[in-house]
């Protein structure tokens, strides 16, 4: 195997509170090649913070430390804000959760996608236009000429999310971080959007980090899964072997999901006594 695309060792993210600094990610280590990695966990498990810290998107007073945070041989910890801007979008990009809040409401779809492209490359205008239309077609938008002229409020949630994917993939990054890309969407559209991501990632040989709370979904679209709880990885396994998971937390999560031919009278719940606070 070649050198990993991303190498993270002992990643820690902390925020100050009245009672001292609280660590939300507590010593996370993983490597990623050109593969699809899923990070699963419940709210507050630190999965989104992990995704954000790779792009150095955690603002003060939050603090990120790591023994190693390398992307393709570049030490991300040592990069200045200006150098990071050259990496963000162009080489690593991120699809956010909710298209309603993540697209600019006063720019048309076409302008936003163009902005993502021309920030990183100088291209003649005609070529920019052609690339945008191609990209919109790649995310299965049927009449790209019309959609490129629309504003975000004029498109549906599923289409908005596909537009965001188009925007993130047009500079052809090597690593895509998708943070709950479908949790704001309908079940029927979810599969569509993930199929598109999956298809583009496989075709271009990119690395993918899919962050989600949905175990079933992650196991379907990833090669490898990290299960996080309270800032730590509790289990790492191949996606196909999720049903043989060992850790009680993972097993608890799997059991708590109702299934389509449900016969249980009551669903098992996680024992929260270990972290029962308020």
């Amino acid at each position: 195997m070649s050198a990993p695309l991303l190498d993270v060792k002992n990643l820690r993210v902390s925020f100050p509170t009245h009672s001292g600094r609280i660590e939300v990610v507590k010593g996370l280590s993983f490597t990623l090649g050109r593969e699809r990695l899923g990070i699963v966990g419940e709210s507050g498990s630190g999965k989104s913070m992990t995704g954000r810290s790779i792009l150095k998107l955690i603002r003060k007073p939050g603090e990120v430390t790591a023994d190693k945070l390398e992307f393709d041989g570049i030490d991300l910890r040592a990069q200045s804000e200006k150098q990071m801007r050259a990496i963000r979008g162009a080489r690593i990009s991120m699809v956010m959760q909710d298209p309603k809040f993540s697209l600019n409401p006063v720019m048309t779809v076409g302008e936003q996608i163009a902005e993502a492209l021309v920030t990183h490359q100088k291209l003649p205008r005609r070529e920019v236009q052609a690339r945008i239309l191609d990209m919109l077609r790649a995310v299965r938008i049927n009449d790209p000429e019309r959609v490129a002229k629309l504003y975000p409020h004029e498109v549906s949630g599923g289409m908005g999310q596909r537009i965001m994917i188009a925007m993130m993939l047009i500079p052809e990054p090597e690593l895509l971080i998708a943070d709950e890309p479908t949790s704001a969407l309908d079940v029927s559209v979810q599969a569509q959007v993930l199929d598109i991501i999956d298809d583009l990632v496989t075709r271009k040989g990119m690395g993918l980090i899919l962050i989600s709370h949905d175990l079933a979904l992650v196991s379907r679209y990833c090669d490898r899964i990290l299960v996080m709880n309270a800032g730590r990885v509790v289990e790492e396994c191949a996606a196909g072997q999720l049903d043989q998971a060992q850790h009680p937390y993972t097993r608890g999560l799997l059991a708590a999901m109702p299934v389509i031919d449900e016969t249980r009278d009551e669903l098992p719940v996680l024992d929260r006594t270990q972290w029962a606070g308020t």
Binding site: E42, S43, G157, S188, A191, L217, A256, I260, L267, V269
Partner: protein, 244 residues
Amino acid sequence: MIAIDLKNLDISYGDSKVVHGVTLSIPEGESFALVGESGSGKSTILRAIAGLAPDWEGEISVFGHKRSHSIDRAVSRQVQMVFQDPYGSLHPRKTIDAALSEPLAIHGIGNRGERVEAMLKAVGLDQRFRFRFPHQLSGGQRQRVAIARALMLEPKILLLDEPTSALDVSVQAEILNLLKRLRREQNLTFLMVTHNLPVVSFLCDRLAVMRHGRIVEIADVAQLKAGDLKQDYSRELLAATEGS
């Protein structure tokens, strides 16, 4: 006895009609699910029954009593609604105690303190939460408060609008168990909107599949479990849930 009876119900928002000719009859004690994609009009039906979407034509009856288009206190006593987002449906500057006492005050019911205490216990919340504000509670705890608020007037029917879709799986399991227990203990009738078919399988007896404001198919949960849905669209939904 028929708990909810809808006849030829059309519902509009302004000029656009979003529900077309829905006829549905739900017997007392049943748990019924409306499923379908966003924009299919399923939540709008709940809102019309609750009185939040007053622009409807046709007939809505609750336990044989025809609903009027304005605020109807007799209906409110029997029908209450639980909303999707526990972060948005509780007043941020009212304590849990105030939120739970308000319906009692509106309907002139006394003995409020004791009723609030008993209800917190019924939904599995400790008494120390009583004088806290919503922001001091987790999502699952807030949804328990929202369910408690809906049950304060001792209604016979609960309208549930995606009660667990904003919650984590483990919290979802707790809320689903709670709803199932409350229904058994208080002999409630549920009309639930969801797009999660496994949840339907766990909690409901029958379901209606909706698309573009119309009911496409009404089926038993046994049919859902066996994958024996008749219409193409219902089967598509089922396939999307199970994954390719």
